[in-house]
């Protein structure tokens, strides 16, 4: 399958990079990473060879047929959610844990809403989320004494 060939190529490069990078370390420090890197390269080559066999091609055809007949993931939703999640993580220290979490939570609920969902339902979900976030933040800050980042706000 094509994705296996791509994965094998990427992993072979990762192994090669690991092996070359480890060359800079002392004998005992590089022994283990280099052994693992060589194993990774060999396994990647095996995966590549497997993906080129006739059996793999048949499996790819069956897989594509299955995908066409089955559920298709919502790629747009996944990408948008991932962007919100990345922003959530990066802004934690700047804005503060609670503020970022509440904003990102609300945004994520909005992004994930169904096209035909009523506005009241979306607002209810956002409200429930904000409440849960606040409860957990209080639990961690006060009861468990975890110093969550305070940032510009809280």
């Amino acid at each position: 399958m094509r994705r296996d060939r791509v994965a094998a190529a990427i992993l072979f490069c990762a192994g090669l990079f690991g092996w070359a990078e480890a060359q800079r370390y002392g004998t005992l420090s590089r022994l283990f990473p280099q052994v693992v890197a060589v194993a990774l390269m060999l396994l990647s080559l095996i995966l590549l060879l497997q993906s080129l066999t006739a059996g793999a091609r048949r499996a790819a055809v069956a897989y594509r047929a299955q995908r066409a007949a089955g559920e298709r993931p919502d790629a747009r939703g996944v990408i948008l959610a991932l962007l919100v999640i990345v922003a959530w993580t990066l802004l934690l220290e700047l804005l503060g844990f609670w503020t970022t979490s509440v904003l990102a939570f609300a945004l994520l609920v909005y992004v994930l809403r169904a096209p035909d969902q009523r506005a009241a339902t979306v607002w209810k979900t956002i409200f429930a989320g904000v409440l849960l976030v606040t409860l957990f933040v209080l639990l961690f800050r006060i009861t468990l004494r975890v110093p969550l980042p305070e940032g510009l706000f809280w």
Binding site: R3, D4, A14, A22, G26, F32, L43, A81, T89
Partner: protein
Amino acid sequence: MPAVLQAVLTVLHPLNLLLISIGVTAGIGVGALPGLTATMAIALLVPFTFGMNVVHALVLLGGIYCGAIYGGSYAAILINTPGTPAAIATTFDGFALARKGHAYRAIVVATIASAIGGLVGVFFLLFLSPPLARASLRFGPPEFFWLTVFGLTIIATISPKSTVKGLIGGAVGLLIGTIGIAPIEGNVRFAFGTVALQNGITLIPALIGLFCLPEILDMIGSRYHRETAIPYRSQRHMLRRVWRLMARKPWLLLRSSVIGTVIGIVPGAGANIAGMVSYNEAVRVSKTPEKFGHGAIDGITASEAANNAGVAGSLVPLLTLGIPGAPPAAVLLGALLLKGMRPGAELFTVHAAVTYTFMFSLVIANIVLLPLGLMLGRAASKVVSGLPITLLAPLVFFLSVIGSFSIQNNVADVYVMLALGVVGYIGRRAGFQPGPIVLGLILGAMCEQGLVQSILMGRAAGTPLAIFFTRPISLVLIALTVVSAAWPMLARMRQRHTPAVAAAHTHPIVEEKRDA
């Protein structure tokens, strides 16, 4: 004997029973949250015991330890994220069962297995502590190296669809595990000048990232096809039904509990590895190995019985030698020392009454765990099943962020979680499962240390490689490794000769239906 009798009476005091119940409940609560480990549960709650007398403090902490290790199964079953690393193997079948609408059934299995595993572990602790502790001290670097190699053979079992992809995942995990300071020479490896990477990749954020984030993104990707992440099917007399199923396989329970106890005793191995090894053995011995990974209750039984048995196992070297068998036991050691109790012979002579009270409190904790676990588990499975994906996905990510951060109060751990989560999601789309990667990550450091230290020992003796193959425990572990590595291949060859099973394995549509 009077000390034992006194201990039994003390532990049955209503106040102690209450403290054990509080400890188990608090432990379940903390363990169920992804990122909060049993170690953290005990460490967070130790300050509350400062003002207590030694017996009250120890029974409370023992309850927390048992509850937290068991609580990890909730998140593993309900959101495919091990609440504690000990519950990794529980995700393989627990979440599969939950997706079929049987979340509570999976929790009942986990609860019964945990309680029985815990009780078997305490039996070993009570009656066999001194000889077992002495045996565990015979583990040197070569034995640790072979133990980890044995652990890595589990990859063949947890990647039935593609062993090569499983092995690649394991190698990637081992390579990620080498990030940070080298254990022997002290070189900083693969940090690329980043301070955050110098201490290496912390296990918990990696675990959350690899298991949790791909699941969240999958939930999001499929939200138009299903309203909730997991459906909920109510069944009457669940406890009786599950118990009947589990009682048919007493050997599975006993074997898993013994594996958990023995691995828990080996310092450094702990419940994380115990669950995996036990799962592997359950698959190897099973007459229907093809059911594992698709919601087999035997898989949940094996993992949960072993990890809770490992709790008492980790206390064997702690109480007899002062060597903690696992990180939570190390925190308990601190609590013991704070109370003026020095592990070793003194615990069984001068402080015998207190020590036996602590041991018997673990019996009670495992008994109390059954009703409490069933009650809390029912509520948790109903709540999670009732949440729409639009609320559950952001909530789980929020818990992932807070859990990753709280490990070291460091935002860098959140970045690690996110990065590995994205890698895990892409890997999953390409057919790579997170289990082997995490296994490599867990075993990597111990494997490297065992390898390098053994080579140094061998060099000093003038035979660098002979040391790996000449020690009795090493030879046993090598034999186990060979059997464990060859078994899945032999099993698959045997299945190919059985026409019906072979057809089910090669037909892609059947494979897909089994996944559903």
